[in-house]
């Protein structure tokens, strides 16, 4: 994958638990083997390009997420069991009515410039940063944040579900008030050389090449980080990353760093480990979206027929070399809290699909039934190939297809600005919590012309809106789950958007890299536990 889009970003980072056993391709989840050794410099990379700035306050996609989270930290983080672990907060306690939360802050934490970390920093981050930029939608019920004796109290107008709020905390970075106060956060020069509380300090950025980090010897988690330093290097060419791994000039590559055929070759050499652990907080999927404003595809019966005509198993095997699997719901099957496994499946069956179209009132007239404009969004190279498969599948049942694969900016404009498509092939990276990011794809309030990665299909259903509204304020976990199940049933029936195939992102690393497991989102991990076994 050569590009990166930014669904996860409104919460800055994404986090959540990996069902390691379910998604791992033969990689043991126990990563903390042996006693950590101190020292060494870890050279890491990822499958995309260098970031536009080391820290992009608005999110900015995977690359700045990776580069900033070594320096800046959230209040909580999530492990691969969906549990929340303390970072800058030691405790987050809801009130009985779930209308306020008391956040107890860690003591003895200092910023990299030596100033103490205080509750003021957290209040500033919430009010001036999260509310303005990254978590505007998520925190729309917020009524105030105030400094208390042990930390910060956050109050809401409506009950706010605990899992939801903790997800926000686990994915929103805390920034220093003394650096950002009174300035435009988006253009602050500190974004290119961030000051944080994390295990690594910013050292140097050589644009076009790498970012260098030094260990923070005053890190609050005594004894960590184990590494002396960290380097994030950027290669634009995936084959060069393979060569760098083989030459030991690179030890850790997250998020599909090398060409897929190389993954097996390197794993077999015994010197490298391929892991699929650490992507639950960003469950990547390739999606199919039907434009409800367009004549033929606004009919759910047609959508069901078209989905039945698509051979998703072959797409997974051929386009993604087996590192993907057919989707079964709008929610990722790796989601441990909300995934509904009992939904109607649209297994590939061309004959059945043809019959479904006949029944829906679109029999073949001459050679074709109708024409559609299929748009494969240009954020990933694979999308164009998926487009070719889908086009072939649909033409087999007599649907005429015009396939376009525009570049990134054009795709954004056509899908989210002009709604100029019948069927769109796109992607998203979802967290476990569905509100508001994933629900925005289905709800009426998610329709915002020109706003990317939300409801572009124009699908509007009062029943869905009602469920989403309830999910936002329901504090009972079991009831939230029921609501989520119901939501998926409706999505599977009406199919405004669904997962075409679920992607299985891979981390490639040298065998001597240890301590990078048990994370919901490896991209957002600070690497404080990473060490080199040399």
């Amino acid at each position: 994958m050569t590009s990166h889009i930014n669904r996860r970003v409104f919460l800055g980072t994404s986090a959540l638990a990996a069902i390691a056993a379910g998604t791992s391709l033969g990689f043991p989840s126990a990563l903390a083997q042996g006693t950590p050794k101190k020292g060494g410099v870890l050279i890491a990379t990822w499958g995309g390009f260098e970031p536009q700035a080391v820290f992009v306050p608005g999110g900015g996609g995977s690359s700045p997420l990776i580069s900033s989270t070594k320096i800046l930290e959230p209040l909580l983080r999530q492990d691969s069991q969906a549990g929340f672990l303390p970072v800058l907060a030691t405790e987050v306690k809801p009130s009985a009515d779930f209308k306020s939360y008391d956040i107890v802050l860690r003591k003895g934490v200092t910023w990299h410039d030596g100033k103490p970390f205080t509750a003021d920093d957290v209040v500033f981050s919430i009010e001036k940063y999260w509310l303005q930029t990254i978590a505007k939608a998520a925190l729309k019920n917020l009524s105030g944040a105030e400094v208390t004796e042990g930390g910060v109290r956050v109050s809401f107008k409506e009950p706010t579900p605990e899992f939801f709020f903790k997800s926000v905390l686990a994915t929103s970075l805390v920034i220093p008030k003394h650096v950002y106060d009174g300035s435009e956060i988006v253009t602050n020069p500190a974004n290119n050389a961030p000051i944080g509380t994390g295990p690594f300090k910013f050292k140097q950025w050589v644009r076009g090449s790498h970012i260098e980090y030094a260990a923070n010897h005053k890190y609050w988690d005594a004894g960590k980080p184990y590494l002396n330093g960290l380097v994030m290097r950027y290669w634009r060419d995936a084959a060069s990353r393979t060569a760098a791994l083989e030459a030991d000039e690179l030890q850790l590559g997250i998020f599909n760093p090398i060409p897929t055929p190389d993954i097996d070759r390197l794993s077999k050499s015994g010197k490298f480990v391929a892991s699929t652990d650490g992507y639950l907080g960003a469950a990547w999927a390739s999606t199919i979206e039907f434009n409800s404003r367009r004549d033929v595809v606004k009919d759910p019966a047609v959508r069901r027929a078209l989905l039945t005509a698509i051979d998703r198993a072959t797409i997974s095997d051929v386009v993604y070399f087996g590192r993907a699997k057919p989707g079964t719901s709008f929610v990722s099957s790796t989601n441990p809290k909300f995934y509904n496994p009992n939904l109607p499946r649209y297994e590939f069956d061309a004959k059945k699909a043809a019959k479904m179209l006949d029944d829906a009132g679109y029999p073949k007239k001459g050679k074709s039934r109708f024409k559609v404009h299929l748009l494969a969004a240009g954020w990933f190279e694979e999308n164009g190939k998926v487009g070719q498969f889908v086009k072939q599948n649909l033409e087999d049942i007599g649907v005429e297809v015009t396939l376009t694969v525009p570049d990134r900016a054009t795709s954004l404009k056509q899908i989210y600005g002009d709604y100029d498509y019948d069927i769109a092939l796109s992607n998203y990276a979802a967290r476990v919590e569905l509100v508001p990011q994933q629900t925005d794809y289905l709800s009426t309030s998610g329709i915002v012309k020109g706003a990317a990665f939300r409801n572009a299909t124009g699908y509007s259903n009062p029943e869905v809106d009602d469920i989403v509204a309830k999910m936002s304020v329901e504090s009972d976990e079991a009831k939230r789950k029921d609501l989520a199940f119901k939501l998926q049933e409706i999505a599977a029936r009406d199919l405004p958007i669904t997962v075409l195939v679920e992607l299985i992102p891979t981390t490639m690393m040298s065998k001597k890299v240890k301590g990078v497991g048990n994370r919901a989102d490896i991209s957002a991990d600070s690497l404080s536990d990473a060490w080199l076994d040399v």
Partner: protein, 322 residues
Amino acid sequence: MKRSIVRRLFQIISLIIGVIVMNFTLIQMAPGSLLDIMTSEQQVTDPATLQHLKQLYGLDQPAIVQLLRYTWSVFSFDLGYSYRQNAPVFDIIIAQLPSTLLLMLTSLGVAVTLGMIAGVIASVKVNTAWDVVISLAAVFFFAAPTFWLGIMLIIFFAVHLDWLPVGGMTTIGGQFGPAGHVLDVIRHLILPALSLGLFYAAIYTRVMRASMLEVFSLDFVRTARAKGLSKTRVILAHVFRNALLPVVTLFGLQLGTVLGGSVVIEAVFSWPGIGSLMLDSVMSRNYPVVLGVFVLSAVVVAVANLLVDLAYYRLDPRIRSR
């Protein structure tokens, strides 16, 4: 000569205006804008924030006003501000342009040196085994894609032999002192300069060979031989010098194309040049950076061509007298 330099300066200024107008128009015509990219990356959906950003980026004004403002600022030596990179455009480009120039000049140096030597040998030993081998090699390096050649060189010299680094421009965290630093950069430069240089060397070889053969057949060469000059002296003083003009012309022309060709090599070797910056900026419709790169490259190419013209004066007195 002075007059022609002044004339050249005027040409450079009009060239820059041309580059700005043309590229600005092309970017305006491409669908999608920086605003689309930035808001999608940052998940901005609030209409008020959208409007604020539009004003911040200066995208609320008509295109012609944006163009005039930009052109004016370029001639007051200001290339604008890149919101995507959160830094002035000049700073961003100047951080990466020198490494591209270094790579470009080294690989052209490799190309000219290798190409001329090979071309001279091939022409002197025309229709012998030497000529055949050199010509075959030239065809091979001309036809082989530079990225493929780059990766093959990496696999052989960096992965298998472990003689040279896989990529980058310096050893990260290395402390060598000034002289050590230069050596370190040279070590990193060898493979990318070779990958890029061999491709161009192939062209120089062909041109040099043809040009030499042509001069060999001229009357004054026969005269020189008849005077009883040594073979080496005939080749170097008479033929080589006269065969050099087409190569110099080609050199000037290629300064521009090498800048483009280095995009691929920079990607393969993670060379911190402006190639990837340019690519990213086009993809994100970040026109201040795109235009900035083009303006600075245009200046570099124009100045280089000016130097090439000066070289003409030295090489061929007839041009001086014109």
